[in-house]
């Protein structure tokens, strides 16, 4: 792909000494990951857990999105579809069928992945700008479907979703208890993405991103790889949506609206596209900002727009990319 490609915005060239040390992490990455784990474990004792849960759900969502843009070079503008459908299905399963939370969450993730199969199959026929527009249009169809389908509750959404008992044992009705489930899913999802990226499969993805014709000539069926990455990303977005539905106890049309797709792009962009920790930092920044500014109404829109513009023009590496660049490490 051309120089200045969106997926390689933060090269951050890792020094040769930073060999993978543990679980595919380089030494600085391992340090950053440990710091992240400590923050995740300690923060509920200091900060309002409800807010933290929201933050972690969006962080996972942004990581799922980043998998596609950062490692396959495909910008999806329709990830709200998988996130929202994951939320609806897990919410519906928990409320109407009374399944336990872990089953509801898995169902939500499966929904995202299943939806990703036909959509990915259609969308990967094109790349670049066309890919973005196609995913946007397909997501809009999902939105229309959700407005009308009876199980989504239309514009009322699914309300008062019960969190239930984890494995039928642990009561999750308090925010504090639920937080640990969200934190567990987030860290699990984060590590899964990291593992995939550093697997042979991930190497092929990066090869496709950097030079698809060459990957084809080497005998890789690149479309299959792209589709698999798409489905995985969609499934993880569904997982994030599913957890969000249980944590916030609602699933609504906001989750499938195209503005949600825009928000996740913004989070990843602000945090640093193609970096491992970028989406987490970006989600933290944007969710915090939205909470701070909730009372300002439409100004939120303006501020988000300005951040978009500033991020594109002035710091394309994003928060984490800039830090990595400063410290000369790849984060």
């Amino acid at each position: 792909m051309a120089e200045g490609s969106i997926a390689t915005a933060s090269p951050g060239a890792p020094p040769a000494t930073d060999e993978a040390t543990f679980f595919g992490f380089t030494r600085p990455q391992a340090a950053a990951f440990l710091a992240l784990v400590v923050i995740v474990l300690a923060s509920p004792f200091v900060v309002y857990p409800f807010f933290l849960m929201k933050l972690l759900c969006f962080a996972l969502f942004a990581c799922a999105f980043n998998l596609l843009i950062g490692y396959v070079g495909l910008l999806s503008f329709g990830h709200a579809a998988y996130f929202g459908m994951g939320a609806y299905v897990s919410g519906y399963a928990a409320k109407a069928w009374g399944v336990t939370p872990e089953v509801a969450i898995l169902l939500g993730a499966a929904t995202g992945a299943l939806l990703g199969i036909p959509f990915g199959w259609l969308a990967i026929r094109r790349t670049g700008i066309y890919f973005a527009m196609i995913t946007l249009a397909l997501a809009q169809m999902v939105y229309f479907f959700c407005v009308q389908a009876p199980f989504t509750g239309g514009e009322d959404g699914i309300q008062a979703i019960p969190r239930g008992h984890l494995f039928g044992i642990f009561d999750l009705s308090s925010d504090f208890a639920m937080y640990w489930v969200v934190a567990g899913v987030f860290l699990g999802g984060f590590l899964l993405i990291h593992r995939v990226v550093h697997s042979p499969f991930g190497q092929v993805l990066k090869a496709i991103r950097d030079n698809e014709p060459r990957a084809i000539s080497l005998g890789y069926r690149t479309d299959d790889y792209k589709l698999m990455a798409f489905v995985l990303s969609a499934g993880l977005a569904g997982l994030a949506g599913a957890v969000k539905a249980l944590a916030m106890r609602i699933a609504t049309l906001t989750d499938v609206l195209w503005t949600m797709s825009g928000e996740v792009v913004l989070m990843s962009l602000v945090g640093g596209l193609g970096t491992i920790f970028g989406p987490v930092a970006g989600a933290a920044a944007i969710v915090t900002m939205q909470t701070y500014l909730a009372e300002f109404g439409a100004w939120v829109l303006v501020i988000q727009g300005v951040i978009f513009i500033a991020a594109v023009l002035a710091f394309r590496r994003g928060i984490v990319g800039e830090i990595g660049n400063l410290l000369r490490v790849k984060l």
Binding site: L122, A137, A298, V312, L313
Partner: protein, 294 residues
Amino acid sequence: MEDLLFEIQLALPQVILGVINGAFYALLSLGLAVIFGMLNVINFAHGAQFTLGAFVAWMLLSWLGIGYWPALILAPLIVGAIGVAMERAMISRLYRIDHLYGLLLTFGCALVIEGVLRNNFGSSGQRYAPPREFGALDLELGDFFLPGYRVWVLIAATTVCLATWLVIEKTKVGSYLRAATERPQLVQAFGINVPLMMTLTYGAGVALAAFAGVLAAPIYSVSPAMGANFIITVFAVVVIGGMGSIAGSIVTGFMLGLIQGITEVFWPEASQTVVFVIMAIVLLTRPAGLFGRA
């Protein structure tokens, strides 16, 4: 047989209405295609600039007392000038890097424009009365009444689309433009100011959106969300047409308006979704779009 005739009779006015709505799709997708052809940027702010056109017309009327006809020229000029400023200040910095950044940047611009309009004018919508002189164009076909203003929309949009096509395909300026699209360095070497051409092209594409906005102001409520309602459908239209040709984007716009108009009679619930279904079918059979080059 008689049933069928009756149905056709019912459908005829809808066909006309559909084509008129298609005029908006055509104008907007034409603007997108012009910009994309030259700049390789998908202008996500196109919907917001359409809205801005309607709002500028409204402001001209309610603040300065400037009526519809001058606004039809002035609003596109003003919004086009804003577009030129946007291109110079921001978009032009992105030509050397991945074109997706252009999409993200214009998306940010769209959010800013919509947010500012919402803060200043609320979202209930402003009214903009159509000029009275269009009463002369009113058409009465039995039961069917077609307001003169809609007839005017069709005439104006078709004229502007044709004129744009002629300028690009048949004039010298157009040939520079087409050449610069294909081989910018070469054209630059011939002493043509390519960056200026790109700036003006963006301004012109934006002006087309604003023109559509002024045309729409008397029909729809002038509200900050009016462009957002259109833009995603127009994106689908662009994908269906493919962005290779100017004529293709115009034809696809009108065609999809027509298809939507007919769907509104026989299966109203699906009239919004039909565009996306067509998009999926086109992608399966001709991934480059109906008029696109792969």
